[in-house]
Amino acid sequence: MIPFTYERAETPAAAVAAVAATPGAKFIAGGTNLLDLMKFQIETPAHLVDVRHLALHEIEETAEGGLRIGALVTNTEVASHPRVRRDYGVLSRAIVAGATGQLRNKATTGGNLLQRNRCPYFYNTDLPCNKRVPGSGCSAIGGISRSLAVIGTSERCIAQNPGDMAVALRVLDATVETMNAAGQARTIAIEDFYRLPGETPEIEFELQPGELITAVTLPPPLGGTHHYHKVRDRASYAFAIVSVAAVLQKDGTGRVAFGSVAPKPWRIEAAEAALPEGPGAVVSAAFERARPMEDNAFKIPLAERTLALVIAEGRA
């Protein structure tokens, strides 16, 4: 790690002011991804503002019947919350499909949303990567691309969003609450939170510099059956090759999002409308514009088979 200074903030307003006041400053909460990247010198903040002592640790009921999850509520706390387990099972299941008990105990809701990508070339500082060093090139195109995205990519970057929690949040149509550097609050739909790489793959999130996530809000429950199926290279503690998050209703309709296939959780509302016609129709529509590499083209038929499994699970 390169040297950095550190301070502890006590309020969201103080935290955003502290980051705004110091060039190269970053927020730190659980730190499980940031510190890993700092050890590789992929992230090199000059100053860390510790936000763990802000009063953002609660899960509250909203007036509409949903839940407001403070940004600092840990992954374990969200997955274990009785209302999440009862009414938002897809979220609980997605969270416990990721990482390990140790990491989920530390990782926070806000921090998990900001998890960086896991492209092997992003992590290899000896090779070009447009996310790590803008303009240096993409080593993954023509390289080892088995785990990477098949849709939503660009000539600059084919990294996938590797998260689990965010795929469930996309199915639930969650919103992200933030505070900007001037102390103003706004909400961002989860649909808009992740950016496609386009010409600027180094910008992954729809956040302004110094903007702090304060909460994630879930709309009222959808009912139905909740599913998160993750296909990976080993039974536990591995990133998804393909994942499917779904909430299915008895009449055959529902919502579906795919994980680890695109730079963002991949949900196409027009495609999920084809759910009553079966998994083939949904996947054909959702991946119509896919541009897979030779190594990862298998993800599209795998997505269809995984969705078929989820639909069968819903009928059981």
């Binding site: 499980t32 416990v96 008990g101 990491l103 530390k106 039974a235 536990s236 503690y237």
Partner: protein
């Protein structure tokens, strides 16, 4: 911070991980450094009763916290029941991963009692059941190169069985 029940005051470089503070500055060398990137679980300790990877945590962020390492769980003359169970079931070979395995195992028993679901939990809305498959999934963040996993699961099942109505092996 309080480490194994004793208040400790340290002045450290901001880059010092909790793991390095414990091992290099406080000489609690029971906690092991394996990968130093959160992959192997050898550095697992309990912070305010919760298991975390000490390698992915800055020491400076633990001001005011209570940290328990393997040395704080038990001593050679007064073993923690989980330590005794690991000995009884021969749940290690080289022993390098064992402090992390034991800290993790102690936390797993508590997590099941608190209703924390896992990836293999069939009904996440119901009280958690303690099965061999559950124990294995919940311990997946602790890698053992010697492959002592089945004996680790047996040690855990014995202790967890004392706290739960039934263990389904």
């Amino acid at each position: 911070m309080v480490v194994n029940g004793i208040h400790r005051s340290l002045t450290l470089d901001t880059r010092t991980s909790l793991l390095d503070a414990l091992r290099e500055h406080l000489r609690f060398t029971g906690t092991k450094k394996g990968c130093d990137h959160g992959h192997c679980g050898a550095c697992t300790v309990l912070v305010n009763g919760t298991r975390i990877n000490a390698c992915l945590s800055l020491a400076v962020m633990h001001e005011g916290d209570s940290v328990t390492t393997i040395e704080g769980l038990g001593t050679p003359g007064n073993l923690h029941p989980m330590q005794a169970a690991f000995l009884k079931h021969d749940a290690f070979q080289c022993g390098y991963c064992t402090p992390g395995q034991i800290c993790s195992a102690v936390a797993v028993v508590d997590e099941i009692a608190l209703g924390v679901p896992s990836h293999v939990t069939a009904d996440i809305a119901a009280p958690m059941r303690l099965t061999n498959v559950e124990l294995r999934e919940r311990m997946s963040g602790n890698i053992c190169r010697c492959g002592a996993y089945s004996n680790i699961a047996e040690a855990l099942a014995e202790i967890a069985g004392d706290k739960h109505d039934s263990v389904h092996l």
